[in-house]
């Protein structure tokens, strides 16, 4: 990352899930922490997320999933992000993510997994300390 440039986060709502309160709260916290945040809005396809992340040259690709379809979505997104040359970026996911799925999400490349009840400052700290 070049000096002086803000950390750029593309924060996406994949799938049909319409619960965006948490994603917007996290977006505001990341902006307050000095990051640049591009929030996609609802119903993003994996293709659209990968395209936007590439166009924006994002440092962090963050997903919010509240409606249980996180695993199928991340399985579809992983190869698309890799094809877009974003395999070395920091991928994180937050939302309603049962503990039993965390290992699978990490194995798919989502290094940061933030289930409901995660603290905002922990998300900010994780991004700061895990950026490549």
């Amino acid at each position: 990352m070049s000096a002086g440039r803000k950390i750029k986060v593309v924060l996406a709502k994949p799938g049909l899930d319409g619960h965006d309160q948490g994603a917007k709260v996290v977006a505001r916290a990341l902006m307050d922490a000095g990051f640049e945040v591009i929030y996609t809005g609802l119903r993003q396809t994996p293709e659209a997320i990968a395209r936007l992340a590439r166009e924006e040259n994002a440092d962090v690709i963050a997903l919010s999933s509240m409606a249980g379809s996180h695993l199928p979505i991340c399985r579809k997104l992983k190869p698309l992000l890799e094809q877009a040359g974003l395999g070395d970026k920091l991928w994180i996911i937050g939302g309603n993510l049962p503990a039993q799925d965390h290992t699978a999400l990490r194995a798919l490349g989502f290094k940061g997994v933030f289930p409901s009840s995660s603290r905002l400052e922990d998300i900010v700290h994780f991004i700061r300390t895990n950026l490549p």
Partner: protein, 540 residues
């Protein structure tokens, strides 16, 4: 509730979530000073502060209607019968996201989502299966559907008609509140203007053909979940309800022809007294609005009928068994506040689709209030409390102020279209989260009384891919068996009616399409072709 230490007085300043300062003690003088002359009255009489009926639960307890639906219609039908066998008196149907967004189960965007957060519905056949064996006169059904509401209301009426019910006598409810979907929840399909038109079409159609059916349940609930405070929750919901009423009145209907079937869905997490006062205040304010602003003369038109009991935003991921206790207090709040229907969030709902066990706990919680705790014995038991009456007046006044502000800024439709309401509540949600993390807004188990002890194992609702595949196959069979010409003709009529500059009511055409077994996705696709799709305002 915020507690601010005040070193001078050595007592805390307490300000409730709606921004009203709470005193340590209330007396008769406080009630008098809080305004609201003549606003208490008696239950069953204008302004209905104390309840919409004179005898309330003494005559009939609230309807118990847990939110249920998952997998395919066969799975959901089994759960319906389980709940009815356990004493539930209504049904509250959860649909999966493809159905809610107007997509068929075989839509590529539906992959992985079919039957996940609710029941998948593609055609009338699915409703026939889902409600098989359910007595639609004894058990009233509420459909939690918004973006695809016109189609699913048509399906419900068509299914009932096919089973021999007289739809002019059929009771039931659809959520069908699209404006709040733009604020929170997000199952919109069309742009704002045609979305409101469709709500108006359903209200007008039901007023003429199914006058006992409640075509809209205006939701403060999700606005609160998105970050609104309790007074804003009611105020914004009333602004939205007025927007629908205005649309119907422009068509030439009189207020008393349809207002009696408007209903509301409210949240209830938070401070017990603020919540009870909120509902009492809302009830009298709605009556006043209907009478003074709309000239309603029928008492039913002035009734703020409601479902309440859910309060997802108040439940916690931490120490989830405490959500059973919170749910019991939420039920108490709603019983004290005179709700018509109650649905509690289950203790495992922060994690998963509720188990049968969790659903039964919620149901028993409500039954316990009626059978053991005396909540169904006396109407408005908190009526006359200096505190509650003062707070009721103050809450009403806050709601009126907020409604006036919305009007002054261009009205709710404008403020939702340009994203102002969304931005405002989202900012509040962030501030609230900060207060929780800083510990200034206390949440037990979250920022105080935490424990490292393990909580009991949670039973996770399994998602069965084979059920989704079965649903896709069932849709294929319906498509193969139905009269294709009839479907095409019906869809063509939906399209021409939607295009017509005369703006005919779309419900008759949608009814025809549904009866021909046209699918949710097919009908939605035709309407999207005419109306286009909603695009969210940019930013937060």
């Amino acid at each position: 509730m915020k507690h601010v230490d005040s070193s001078k007085s050595r007592s805390r300043t307490v300000i409730n979530e709606s921004g009203i300062e709470i005193k340590p003690l209330y007396a008769a003088a406080d009630v008098a000073a809080s305004g609201g002359d003549g606003m208490i009255g008696l239950p069953g009489q204008y302004p209905f502060t104390r309840g919409i009926h004179s005898l309330m639960y003494r005559k009939q307890p609230w309807t118990m209607r847990q939110y249920t639906g998952f997998g395919n219609p066969t799975d959901t039908n089994k759960r319906f019968h389980y709940l009815i066998a356990n004493g539930q008196t209504g049904l509250n149907v959860a649909f999966d996201l493809p159905t809610q967004c107007g997509m068929d189960s075989d839509d590529p965007q539906a992959e992985g989502e079919v039957g996940r957060v609710g029941m998948a519905v593609d055609t009338l056949r699915d409703f026939e299966i889902a409600f098989d064996g359910v007595d639609l006169e004894r058990i009233t059904v509420s459909l939690t559907i918004n973006g695809a509401a016109a189609i699913l209301i048509a399906m419900y009426l068509a299914m009932a008609e096919k089973r021999g019910y007289d739809i002019s006598k059929l009771r039931g409810t659809a959520q069908n509140d699209i404006l709040k979907e733009f604020i929170g929840r997000g199952t919109w399909v069309y742009p704002v203007e045609p979305s409101i038109r469709l709500v108006g079409d359903t209200i007008e159609y039901c007023a003429q053909h199914a006058p006992k059916y409640s075509p809209v349940s205006v939701c403060g609930y999700h606005i609160r979940e998105s970050g609104a405070d309790p007074a804003q929750e009611i105020a914004y919901a009333f602004c939205i309800a007025k927007a629908y009423a205005d649309d119907v009145i422009r068509r030439g209907l009189a207020i008393d022809e349809f207002a009696g079937r408007l209903s509301f869905n409210f949240n209830c997490f938070g401070n017990i007294f603020e919540q009870v006062a909120k509902f009492r205040a809302g009830r009298s304010l709605w009556a006043k609005i209907m009478k003074d602003q709309y000239g309603a003369t029928e008492p039913g038109s002035m009734w703020m009928r409601m479902i309440a009991g859910g309060g997802g935003g108040g439940l916690t991921f931490e120490q989830p068994e405490m959500n059973i206790v919170r749910g019991a207090y939420y039920a108490l709040i709603c019983a004290l506040a005179g709700t018509q229907t109650m649905a509690l969030c289950c203790y495992d709902e922060a994690y998963t689709i509720p188990s049968e066990y969790a659903q039964r706990i919620s149901l028993r919680t409500m039954q316990l209030l009626i059978e053991e705790m005396g909540l169904a014995d006396t109407v408005d038991p908190l009526g006359g409390s200096y505190y509650v009456e003062t707070l009721t007046n103050q809450m009403r006044s806050r709601m009126e102020t907020i409604m006036t502000e919305v009007e002054a800024q261009g009205g709710i439709v404008t403020l939702v279209s340009d994203g102002s309401i969304q931005a405002g509540v989202s900012r509040q949600a962030y501030e609230h989260q900060r207060e929780i993390e800083e510990g200034t807004f206390r949440k037990v188990g979250v920022n105080c009384y935490r424990t490292d002890e393990k909580t009991p194992e949670m039973e996770f609702h399994p998602y069965k891919g084979e059920d989704a595949r079965a649903q896709v196959q069932a849709l294929g069979r319906v498509r193969a068996e139905r009269d294709a010409v009839r479907v095409q003709q019906a869809l063509a009529r939906v399209q021409s009616d939607a295009r017509s500059t005369a703006r005919p009511n779309l419900m008759p055409a949608i009814m025809e399409a549904v009866k021909a077994y046209a699918s949710v996705g097919e009908i939605t696709g035709v309407l999207v072709g005419v109306f286009g799709r909603y695009r969210e305002p940019r930013g937060l």
